[in-house]
């Protein structure tokens, strides 16, 4: 077995052990996630006003983006903010239906006397092609309900009282963007605005795009940020602090497995840098 395969095996064991044993550590505090929590906690919606969550991710970044979308939607659902979910990314199709449904089921299990129903708590308007051109049309539409037309099941939005007459884009109180695609995220930053309207934008990004996302957080173009799995894990901890029944065990185990993998990598880097010195020292000794 080559050394490369031994490294793969070590990584697999490091990742699988916390998952199999159900080991979970408390995640580190992330201020950017807390900023997002504060933003969503302050959102007040009048009838007809909504939050718009773009789930622009597919199976390739599901590991980080799905937990982010889950905690974002969980908080919005808990606050009873009607959510429009949609995507600029074709492969998001499945997650647009799965994420809100899963969150609704979890919340209903936690609070059996309450319901989060499709058409009341959220609607799914599906995949929207056209990127910047679509976004331009969306922000300039006189009535988003008419502009979006129908949900993914072909039902006119006018059938759903919470989403029947949204009106102009000003009625979108929060824009959530969950993606690992820089270009797609840029489309929101660049075009989801118009004269007199700058939305509150929150973002869930993959680890790769964290350094870039920080630029937007620093400039105030973003109002909150979830940094990879760690961001989602800390957000779930904050949610749990205020809603103790909330179950975030799986997310914490995921985050712990990731940390274990990081520790192994750090160990391998140290070993990899020490080994040449050791080898040289031994070969000198042999001479």
């Amino acid at each position: 077995m080559g050394s490369r395969r031994i490294i793969y095996l070590i990584m697999l064991v490091a990742v699988a052990a916390p998952i199999l044993l159900g080991i979970s550590q408390r995640p580190s505090r992330l201020v950017s996630a807390e900023r997002m929590y504060d933003v969503l906690e302050k959102v007040e919606v009048k009838p007809g006003e909504v939050a718009m969550v773009w789930m622009d991710f597919g199976p390739n970044t599901i590991a980080e983006n799905e937990p982010q979308a889950m905690v974002m939607i969980e908080h919005l659902f808990r606050r009873r903010v009607p959510v429009v979910v949609l995507s600029q990314y074709q492969q998001a199709e499945r997650f647009l239906s799965r994420v809100p449904q899963t969150v609704a089921r979890q919340l209903e299990a936690e609070m059996p006397d309450q319901k989060w129903r499709y058409g009341e708590a959220w609607i799914n308007v599906g995949y929207k092609p056209g990127a910047a051109i679509f976004m331009q049309s969306l922000v300039n539409a006189a009535d988003l309900s008419k502009f979006l037309g129908r949900d993914v099941n072909g039902m006119p939005l006018s059938n759903y009282p919470n989403f029947a007459a949204i009106g102009g884009v000003e009625r979108v109180k929060v824009v959530g963007e969950v993606t690992g695609l820089v270009g797609v995220f840029d489309t929101i930053i660049q075009f989801f605005q118009k004269k007199g309207y700058r939305p509150v934008i929150i973002h869930g990004c993959t680890s790769i795009t964290i350094p870039e996302a920080y630029i937007f957080l620093d400039s105030g173009q973003l109002h909150g940020l979830l940094e990879g799995i760690a961001g989602a894990a800390w957000y779930s901890e904050v949610l749990k602090k205020f809603h103790p029944q909330s179950d975030n065990k799986r997310l914490l185990v995921t985050n712990t497995a990731l940390s274990a993998a990081h520790l192994v990598i750090i160990g391998l880097i140290i070993v990899g840098n020490i080994m040449p010195f050791f080898t040289r020292w031994r070969s000198r000794g042999d001479r």
Binding site: R5, Y8, M11, L12, V15, A16, I19, L20, N60, T61, I62, A63, E64, Q90, Q91, E93, G126, Y127, K128, P129, G130, A132, I133, Q136, G149, R150, V152, G154, G180, D186, T187, I189, Q190, F191, Q193, T206, S207, I208, T209, I210, P211, I215, F216, D218, S219, G220, Q221, G228, I229, R250, V253, T254, A257, L258, A261, H262, I265
Partner: protein, 239 residues
């Protein structure tokens, strides 16, 4: 996976796990099992795109209203909203877009160039607008105060942060300033200081890339260990 999972759900988890193992088998060596699932994934991704464009956009937004399929009627047959013939105007931009296909004709390729020119012009204009709405707030936010007071008291931490930010910004910008002769000038002497700062940035990018890849591994292992094993257990009768 819950105990009440449908057969369809179990089957999709089973195939998903099989595909994951096939792709990971590449780590041992290149093999047919891996190649089969790689092609399958590319095929599905390629097929899904056009299907979604037709289902979620072309059909409900263009074809249905244009052909009057979206007109709903009362039980007596009277339309709720009458057919709007103005939707037929969609045929003009659609026809214009179809000129793109003349790219395959040597004689009429010039017709495609009109569409390409139009697309380039539109994209250029959008890019300029997008650049300004994205970059200007960032430029403005880079003007940070070097001495920061928080709640009336001098904040050494915030001041140091801002100083570090401004210094990094200036040194990196200076590193990429190639217009003037560097030899012997003060600007040339300071320029190399930008390089280690850039290396820190690249290190951060590299570290975060590794983290993202590991996150994918964690999710897949989680899927295999929990969902897939449960699905296999259900299929073989242990679930």
């Amino acid at each position: 996976m819950g105990t009440g999972s449908s057969a369809w759900e179990i089957a999709s988890v089973f195939v998903g796990g099989l595909a994951t193992l096939a792709i990971f088998s590449f780590l041992i060596k290149e093999n047919g099992f891996y190649r089969f699932f790689e092609h399958l994934f590319i095929g599905i991704a390629a097929g899904l795109g056009p299907m979604l464009v037709v289902r979620d956009f072309l059909w409900p937004n263009i074809v249905e209203p244009m052909l009057g399929f979206s007109v709903r009627t009362y039980p007596d047959g009277t339309p709720v909203v009458p057919y709007q013939p103005l939707y037929l105007l969609y045929l003009i931009p659609m026809g214009f877009g179809c000129l793109y296909y003349f790219i395959y004709s040597k004689r009429h390729a010039w017709l495609a160039k009109i569409v390409i020119g139009f697309t380039l012009g539109t994209s250029g204009a959008l890019a300029i607008r997008g650049f300004f709405s994205e970059a200007i707030p960032q430029v403005a936010s880079s003007f940070k105060p070097l001495i920061v007071f928080e709640d009336g008291a001098f904040s050494i931490f915030a001041s140091f942060n801002n100083l570090l930010f401004v210094l990094t910004l200036l040194l990196v910008l200076n590193y990429f300033l190639f217009t003037f002769g560097r030899e012997g000038s003060a600007q040339g002497k300071i320029a190399p200081l930008g390089r280690p700062l850039l290396m820190v940035c690249f290190g951060a990018f590299f570290g975060s890339t590794v983290m993202a890849r590991l996150a994918l591994l964690v999710e897949r292992v989680q899927f295999i260990v929990r969902d897939w094993v449960a699905a296999v257990g259900t299929i073989v009768g242990f679930g």
